[in-house]
Symmetry: C2
């Protein structure tokens, strides 16, 4: 267990006075450029070969312009390839809500810093679950916005067709303030008219996890009385997962291949293994996965017309213990991906809402909506907190 901040870095940049986020502090995952500081990407051989950025990433600049003060750069899984938040080079940030358990990743340090109260909010990235999962594990609000909505300039890419910038907060009001700035949209307007409960996702989660989030779900039903249960993925959430676990690593390999082949960088074994397997993915598997993605997009578009939200568990269980053996980690990652794959595949906005625990460890309830309906999700979180 270690600090949420990247070892050896120290940065503090005051926000512009008088903005909507004045008085708030934030941290940025070490995938975001901060001018004058190396972007480490969670790997000792990444920063070395890249020039020190001369401009802030778009999201960092937007937060500073809105008045928030940057207080640090946070640990990430290596080049965002991880979901548990254990970085062999920089350490595992503390999960204060479940000590001895992982914070979730890859936005591990951002979630940890917010959960510890070190800052009010923090920027993360979510390609395959990297904001949603740490939000769930640390008991935070977290958002994966509509894919393509935010300007990702200055954010280290992984798999561009799935990459998003997200953020965390401990309370709904702060979450809404930050969301208004980064979504560039007021968090005002009607609540959802209809609620779909994804019974396949609830069925895939551990029974105890599904039961633990039922009280929040029941409050949500009171807020949105027109609800019904539906299968989210008739093709199978596992089919969607297989497609995403084909497409995303292949794209990541395309992103990092030049660097890997030039510098032969150091990685934890599991990270290197993922890239090796990606490099060997047959073209036929990629083609199949792209078709499944198309089918999944059609399904979610059908399921989530404007005004509808979908509820599902963010992850199938609460935070696992740290430092598990690799075969166990592999099983955990695979199960998490089953409940996260739709995000990267279809690009709908999703928020994870805290409030439930299982054996004392947080677990989150996730809400999805139509593409572009990010603000409606944030409004729902606000309304749900006061019901």
């Amino acid at each position: 267990m270690s600090s949420p901040f990247v070892p050896g870095t120290a940065v503090r940049l005051p926000g512009t006075p008088g903005g909507p986020l004045t008085g708030l502090t934030f941290a940025a995952k070490d995938l975001f450029d901060v001018a004058g500081h190396p972007t480490g990407g969670g790997n000792p051989d990444w920063a070395r070969q890249n020039p020190i950025p001369t401009r802030h990433a778009w999201a960092v600049q937007a937060m500073l312009d809105a008045g928030a003060t940057l207080v640090g750069k946070t640990i990430t899984d290596e080049v965002s390839l991880g979901i548990l938040g254990e970085n062999a080079f920089e350490g595992t940030p503390l999960n204060p809500a479940a000590p001895g358990h992982v914070p979730g990743g890859s936005s591990s340090g951002s979630a940890s810093a917010v959960a510890q109260g070190i800052c009010d909010t923090a920027l993360g990235t979510d390609t395959g679950g990297s904001v949603r999962v740490p939000a769930s594990f640390c008991g935070l609000y977290g958002i994966r916005p509509t894919h393509g909505r935010l300007d990702l300039t200055g954010m280290l890419p992984q798999a561009p067709s799935s990459d998003t910038t997200g953020w965390f907060a401990r309370d709904a009001a702060t979450f809404a303030r930050v969301s208004a700035v980064l979504l560039e949209e007021a968090i005002e307007g009607p609540l959802p008219a209809r609620l779909v409960i994804a019974i396949d996702a609830f069925g895939f989660a551990d029974l105890a996890a599904a039961e633990a989030i039922t009280p929040i779900l029941n409050r949500l039903k009171r807020l949105v009385p027109d609800w019904q249960e539906e299968v989210m993925a008739p093709q199978g959430l596992t089919t969607w997962s297989r497609a995403q676990r084909t497409l995303q690593p292949v794209e990541a390999w395309e992103t990092f291949r030049t660097w890997v082949e030039r510098d032969n960088p150091r990685f934890a074994f599991s990270v290197a293994r993922g890239l090796v397997m990606a490099a060997m993915t047959p073209e036929a598997d990629r083609g199949w996965a792209a078709l499944v993605r198309r089918e999944a997009r059609g399904r979610l578009r059908h399921l989530l017309p404007p005004g509808t939200i979908l509820a599902m568990p963010t992850a199938p269980f609460a935070a696992p213990k740290t430092a598990l053996p690799l075969p166990e980690i592999d099983g955990i990652r695979a199960a998490i991906n089953v409940l996260c794959a739709h995000g990267g595949l279809a690009g709908h906005p999703q928020i994870s809402i805290p409030g439930a625990t299982l054996d004392g460890r947080p677990i989150g309830l996730s809400l999805l909506a139509a593409r572009g309906a990010d603000a409606m999700l944030v409004r729902t979180a606000l309304a749900l907190e006061s019901i």
Copy 2:
């Protein structure tokens, strides 16, 4: 370029007075146990999980008992999985004979320390070429003894059916003194009666490399006038290489699998990739490779009756530049393996003899003999030096 010694280590153990190696200094590759010091194995996550040894490795003890003084532990490629001598964690030991070029590996630091004159001799290990190649690249005498001849207690294994303990020296006399101790056999007796020149191995080497070692080969012909040219591997040196590159990584994966799965250790990408590929090797490929190994053993037994030696280039070229891109390194490693695979496959003793250069960089001539005829090879090296 860095020191040949493992960073952060310092060890000096005087040898027992009055022995045959009194006055000599030696270094030990960081795969050999030295009591009271961690055996690092060239990887930051290896030493951490292994107890500090309480006894010296057999070879270290034998050197100390013979009077040699231990002056340091030397850098190795990570858990001996490498042939160029570039360690991303500990640095690339200087090749003083070819600055800007790799020292060869995995016994990189041992070769570098001897070549720099920091010590008189040094212990290495050779599974797939890890003494022979650095001897060739650094311009040293180096031996891979008959497989199974030396006691390997206290030496970190990689692929036990191929692992050997070897050593380096700058001159034939020192090489012979150390060899007598570690082979536990006087370097006395007749010279070889017959010389086989492996025309396929000479043909596979770069033409300039083959030409560069021709003057030494001609001296050898004067020493052993009954010579003839023969094909060493009628099945193809490349077939032997493919078999060894199937069997050795699979065995290495068996050696390291428990550690890798428990600790998810850090590796340079290329090292992790080798283990991943090994883990996926189909059983049918292993079966085929084992048959090729058997065929190769039969061939070398036939080719090398007692009293016969075989001459071939140690490596197909002189030391390549440091820090090449991975695709180039992959091609270089593959080519080197074609001239080294017989060692691990068949276990015959082999020495690499210095004395030739190509564009100023050393290249070695290798001599093989019947299993157990290690001392005859050393005698040949001594005789050749004075012809």
